[in-house]
C-alpha cells in the first residue's frame, strides 16, 4: 500500500493508506451472522461485495463505519484498520470515524426538512465543521456526484422533489461534502432504474480517484463494470463467510472456488 496525496491544502481529497479488516465477526443477539472476515481494501480502489441475500454483506460494511452498533442487540469482534488505526480502539471518537468513512444507503434518504443545497451541506452542519466557501463546495460535491447540471437552478427546492435516481446522487453528494477517505455503498442502485444506475456507476468510477470505495451489489454486471476487486460472501445457513476475493476479472473468468463459479454464472442466488 502506498500513500497517495495524503492531504490537500483545503483538507479535502484525503486518500490515506487504505482499509483493512481482521477477523471481523458480527452478531445480532445470539445469532452469529458474520464469521472471520479478513479483507484488504487498497487506497483508491473499488471493491465489490457480492453474494446472495442474507449472507452478511450489508452487516459487514456497517461494521466498517461502526453503524453496526446502531442496532440495539448488535455485537461484533475483530479489528477494522483505517490508516493503520483500529476504528474500534478504546477512546476512538466514533463521529470522527464516520466522517472519514461515508455511507450511501440502499434507499435514497435525503433529509425531508432541507432543500437540495442544505442536504448537500448537512454533514458539515451535523459535525459542526466550518467551511470558507459553501457555494463552491456545494457545486463541487454535486458535480462529482453527477447532479449539478440537473439541480443548479433549483437548489432551494426540497430534496423530495427529485426523482429516485437524483435523490440517490444527492445522497452521494451529501456524503462527499465531509470529504471521506472511504465511501461505503450498500446496494445503492437496487431501487433505481437502469439509466440512473448507469449514472451512479459513472460517478463511482470517477470518485475512485479520490477515495476508497466498497460497494455491495446484487448485480453481477455492476460488480464487473465498476470494481477492481470482488469479494464473494456466502452463508450456508450459518454465519456468512467470505469465500473468495480476487481482482474482479479473475473472479468472473477464473474463480477458484466452485461455489463462486456457480454464483457468478447464475446457477444459484
Amino acid at each position: 500500500m502506498t500513500t497517495i496525496d495524503m492531504i490537500s491544502p483545503e483538507g479535502r481529497k484525503v486518500l490515506g493508506t487504505g482499509l483493512e479488516t481482521r477477523g471481523v465477526h458480527a452478531w445480532f443477539g445470539k445469532n452469529h451472522v458474520l464469521s472471520d472476515i479478513n479483507l484488504n481494501f487498497a487506497a483508491g480502489s473499488v471493491t465489490a461485495l457480492i453474494g446472495p441475500s442474507g449472507c452478511g454483506k450489508s452487516t459487514f460494511i456497517r461494521t466498517i463505519n461502526r453503524m453496526h452498533e446502531f442496532i440495539p442487540t448488535a455485537a461484533m469482534a475483530g479489528e477494522v484498520f483505517l490508516d493503520g488505526k483500529d476504528v474500534y480502539a478504546p477512546g476512538t471518537d466514533v463521529t470522527k470515524i464516520r466522517l472519514k468513512i461515508g455511507m450511501v444507503f440502499q434507499k435514497p434518504n435525503p433529509f425531508p426538512s432541507m432543500t437540495i443545497g442544505e442536504n448537500v451541506l448537512s454533514g458539515l452542519k451535523l459535525a459542526q465543521i466550518k467551511v470558507a466557501n459553501k457555494e463552491e463546495l456545494m457545486e463541487e460535491c454535486l458535480t462529482r456526484a453527477g447532479l449539478w447540471k440537473e439541480v443548479k437552478d433549483r437548489l432551494d427546492a426540497h430534496g423530495g422533489s427529485l426523482s429516485g435516481g437524483q435523490q440517490q446522487r444527492l445522497c452521494i453528494a451529501r456524503s462527499l461534502a465531509v470529504s471521506p477517505q472511504v465511501l461505503l455503498m450498500d446496494e445503492p442502485c437496487s431501487a433505481l432504474d437502469p439509466g440512473s444506475t448507469l449514472r451512479i456507476e459513472e460517478t463511482v468510477r470517477q470518485l475512485s480517484d479520490s477515495m476508497t470505495i466498497v460497494i455491495v451489489t446484487h448485480n453481477m454486471q455492476q460488480a464487473a463494470r465498476v470494481s477492481d476487486h470482488t469479494a464473494f460472501f456466502l452463508s450456508d445457513g450459518g454465519p456468512g463467510e467470505m469465500i473468495e476475493t480476487a481482482p474482479t476479472s479473475e473472479i468472473f473468468s477464473r474463480p477458484k472456488d466452485k461455489r463462486t463459479e456457480d454464483y457468478v454464472t447464475g446457477r444459484f442466488g
Binding site: 444507503f105 451535523l126 456524503s175
Partner: protein, 338 residues
C-alpha cells in the same frame, strides 16, 4: 370528464332525494311517530332503501350493497356533525347578544354580575386565559417534547415506566391536578392564589397530552433518516435536533395544539387555584387572576338575565380564541420551509 355525472344522473339523484323527503313526511305524518329524531331516522332509512333498490335493479347486487353502505357512512358523518353545529349555533345565537365594545375594553372590577351589559366586560378573563395558556405552554412544551424524545430516541432504562406514567397521567381528572397543586404548592409554599398556581395545574394536564402525541409523531419518522444523520458524522443529539425534530415539525405542532385544546376550557383547577379575580391582573405570580371558564361559571352562577347573557358571550369569546389559536398553529405548521 367521462366520469362526471350527466344531467340525467343528477335528475335521477334529485328524484330519489325528493321521493325520500315526500315519503318521510307522509310516513311520519300518518304514523304515531313524531319529533326530529323520527324524521331523521326515517329519512335515512328510506334513502338507503331507495338508492339501494334503484342500484340493485339497474346495476346488480354489488352496486346495491355499495349504495347502502355509502348512505350508512353519510349517516355517521352527519350524526357526528349535528351536535357540533348545534353547540356552535346555540353559542353564537345566545352569545352575540352579549357582545359589545366594552366587553373587550373593561373588566368586572367596577361592575357586578347583575349590572346592565353596558357596564363591565371580560378583558380580565381574556388576558387571564391567555396568560395561563402561555405559562402552561412554556412549562409543558419543552417537558412534553423532551419526554417524547427520551421515549423514542434515547430509549433509556426508564422508558417503560415513563411510558406507563404518561399514559396513566393523561387520564388524570382535572380536579385532581388542581387539588395536587393546592396541597403540594399553594398551601405549603405560596399560601396564596395566583395565575401561576393555575398554570401549574394546567401543565400537569398538558404534559401527558403533548408527550404522548409527540411520541407517536416521532415514531413515524423513518429510522433511515436517523441512520443517515449518524452516518454523516453527527452526534445523536445533533441528528435529533437537526433532522428528526424538523422532519416531525408539523406533527409536533399538532401535539401542542392538542395540548392547548386539553386545557383552554379547563375550569375545575382554576376554581381552586387562581382566585378568580374581577380585575385585569398582569402579574401571574401574585394576586387573583381571572379566566374565561371562571368568568362563565361565575356569571351563570349569578343567575340574573344579564349575567347569563354575559356567560354566553364569554363562551363565544372562548371558542373564538381557541379557533384562532388552532388556525394560526395550523398555518404555521403547513407553511413550507423556504
Amino acid at each position: 370528464m367521462p366520469w362526471a355525472a350527466t344531467p340525467k344522473d343528477r335528475l335521477r339523484d334529485l328524484l330519489i332525494l325528493v321521493g325520500t323527503i315526500v315519503f318521510t313526511y307522509v310516513f311520519v305524518g300518518l304514523s304515531p311517530m313524531n319529533g326530529k329524531l323520527a324524521y331523521f331516522s326515517i329519512f335515512f332509512l328510506t334513502y338507503a332503501i331507495l338508492t339501494g333498490t334503484y342500484q340493485g335493479v339497474t346495476r346488480g347486487s354489488a352496486a346495491a350493497k355499495d349504495a347502502v353502505v355509502s348512505s350508512i357512512v353519510v349517516v355517521g358523518a352527519v350524526a357526528t356533525l349535528i351536535p357540533i353545529t348545534s353547540i356552535l349555533a346555540t353559542v353564537i345565537a345566545k352569545g352575540y347578544k352579549g357582545l359589545s365594545i366594552n366587553l373587550f375594553t373593561t373588566d368586572m372590577s367596577l361592575a357586578t354580575a347583575t349590572d346592565p351589559l353596558s357596564n363591565g366586560g371580560l378583558l380580565h378573563a381574556i388576558t387571564g386565559t391567555l396568560t395561563l395558556v402561555a405559562i402552561a405552554l412554556i412549562i409543558s412544551v419543552p417537558l412534553g417534547i423532551l419526554t417524547a424524545l427520551y421515549m423514542t430516541e434515547i430509549k433509556g432504562r426508564f422508558m417503560k415506566p415513563i411510558k406507563f406514567l404518561v399514559q396513566a397521567m393523561s387520564g388524570v381528572p382535572s380536579i385532581v391536578a388542581g387539588l395536587f397543586i393546592l396541597s403540594a404548592v399553594l398551601y405549603p409554599i405560596t399560601k396564596s392564589s395566583s395565575g401561576l398556581m393555575g398554570a401549574l395545574a394546567l401543565s400537569i394536564l398538558m404534559i401527558p397530552t403533548i408527550a404522548r402525541t409527540s411520541e407517536e409523531v416521532l415514531l413515524l419518522i423513518p429510522s433511515e433518516l436517523r441512520e443517515a444523520g449518524v452516518a454523516l458524522g453527527g452526534t445523536q443529539w445533533r441528528t435529533v435536533a437537526m433532522i428528526v425534530v424538523p422532519a416531525a415539525r408539523s406533527g409536533l405542532i399538532t401535539a401542542i395544539i392538542l395540548g392547548v385544546a386539553r386545557i383552554a376550557g379547563e375550569t375545575a383547577p382554576l376554581l381552586l387555584l387562581t382566585g378568580g379575580g374581577d380585575k385585569v391582573n398582569p402579574n401571574p405570580f401574585d394576586g387573583p387572576m381571572g379566566s374565561l371558564p371562571y368568568y362563565i361559571w361565575k356569571s351563570f352562577y349569578a343567575g340574573s338575565e344579564e349575567s347569563i347573557t354575559r356567560a354566553w358571550a364569554g363562551l363565544l369569546v372562548l371558542i373564538v380564541i381557541i379557533l384562532v389559536l388552532f388556525i394560526s398553529a395550523r398555518s404555521l405548521s403547513s407553511r413550507k420551509v423556504k
